[in-house]
Amino acid sequence: MEGLLAGNEDAVRALYARYARPIFTLGLRLLGSREAAEELTQDVFLAAWRKAARFDPSRGRLSTWLMTIAHNLAVDRLRRETGASRPRLVLVDEVPEVVGADEEASMIERDIAVRALSTLSDAERRLLVRAYFGGLTAREIAEADGIPLGTVKTRLRTALIKVRRANVDKERLR
């Protein structure tokens, strides 16, 4: 991370090789165009460079930190662009095209993520996807589905805790 902080090109390339594709993919799904996704990916790496000194490995993984930056930047952009249509997301478990050796790490991340999401019920997974990718608030989901707000909040929290627990279990086995 000190390499990134100092603007070291090799450090930036190493981070790019490992994490750019999932970040770009998230950008494309959230923002709906490859141009916007590319801008987002650039912004994420620039933000990571600016915030590198604040990254604390004892409080979370680098992949999580980068993806949180990406999601926050994308959500902020969607908020700014009033009226922007939010793309509907479909989680497709398809085999990606050939990836380089450097991307093995992100493929492992994906494997862990897919398995973690598979521990959720359909309702929980759908709720998580509508909030995380669709940007729907708990209140909006409650109103759309005609269920109590408290139920939506509890279900969302339960879903995240389940995912977290599955991740922790998986990491123990690695």
Binding site: T25, H71, L89, A113, A131, G135
Partner: protein
């Protein structure tokens, strides 16, 4: 907001759908509450997992090099003021991190109230670093800060009953006006022997230079001082002391003025 109220909102925060008003209050709470921050980090991590589950898409050609170029441009070319300031910031971050560990060790095994306080002090390190950077940016707006003339030291509590810590940055130059920036954090805000705190530099002969007086601490027991020493070189003034209102030394440290101190 109470911890219970905050924790009810952390899941929505993690997936990025918390309304602005609530978001501001939650973020404010998380700045000082370690328990809620830990839970927030766990939920953030879970939310990020959702993104990693997406089926990867093809990448635009050349994006990697464009990103490298953008970061390189932002970081500045070798020798540029920005790069030098970044190098200073890295060194300050290291000093602050070490100072944090020192405080933790000092506080170990002490009464719970003090342990809580020490934890809060450590949690403020990132903000302390930001403040140092802000001071630095004001002091040298766009000006070159020569790496070989910039030296750092850390301040640690003098005794087991003392609180806080800090960092010192000195510019010691043959052709510029020397200056010192002192950043303290975690000092006692409500004790009878608190403010004003005084910060001094001394050399081996015992000659004293005043950096300044701290009349007010922020909520974290933090403050910053900056002084330029016109007509006075700081060579050899490596010992830094912070004394409280009763004259007791509460923090102490040594600035390493050896040429290689900052080069790493």
């Amino acid at each position: 907001m109470t911890c219970v109220q905050v924790r009810e909102l952390l899941a929505e925060r993690a997936v990025g759908v918390l309304p602005d008003g609530d978001r501001a209050e939650v973020e404010q709470h998380l700045r000082w509450c370690a328990g809620c921050r830990k839970e927030a980090a766990e939920l953030d991590s879970a939310a990020a997992t959702v993104a990693f589950a997406l089926a990867p898409v093809p990448m635009p050609a050349g994006l990697g090099e464009r990103i490298v170029a953008r970061v390189r441009q932002a970081a500045g070319s070798p020798g540029s003021p920005r790069r030098l300031r970044t190098a200073v910031a890295v060194a300050v971050a290291a000093v602050v991190a070490v100072a944090g560990l020192g405080w933790g060790a000092v506080m170990a095994g002490r009464a719970e109230r003090l342990a809580d306080r020490a934890e809060q002090v450590e949690l403020r390190q990132a903000e302390a670093l930001d403040r140092f950077r802000q001071v630095l940016a004001r002091v040298v707006p766009g000006a070159e800060l020569p790496e070989q003339e910039t030296f750092l030291g850390r301040l640690v509590p003098v005794g087991p009953e003392m609180l806080g810590g800090g960092a010192v940055l000195q510019l010691v130059s043959p052709n510029r006006i020397d200056f010192a920036i002192v950043l303290v954090n975690g000092l006692d805000t409500d004790g009878p022997d608190g403010v004003p705190y005084r910060v001094t530099l001394s050399n081996r002969s015992g000659d004293l230079l005043r950096v300044g007086r701290i009349d007010e601490l922020d909520a974290d027991g933090g403050a910053q001082l900056f002084r330029q020493f016109e007509g006075q070189e700081l060579v050899g003034y490596t010992h830094v002391r912070v004394t409280d209102a009763s004259g007791t030394v509460v923090l102490e440290g040594v600035v390493d003025q050896s040429p290689a101190a900052l080069g790493s």
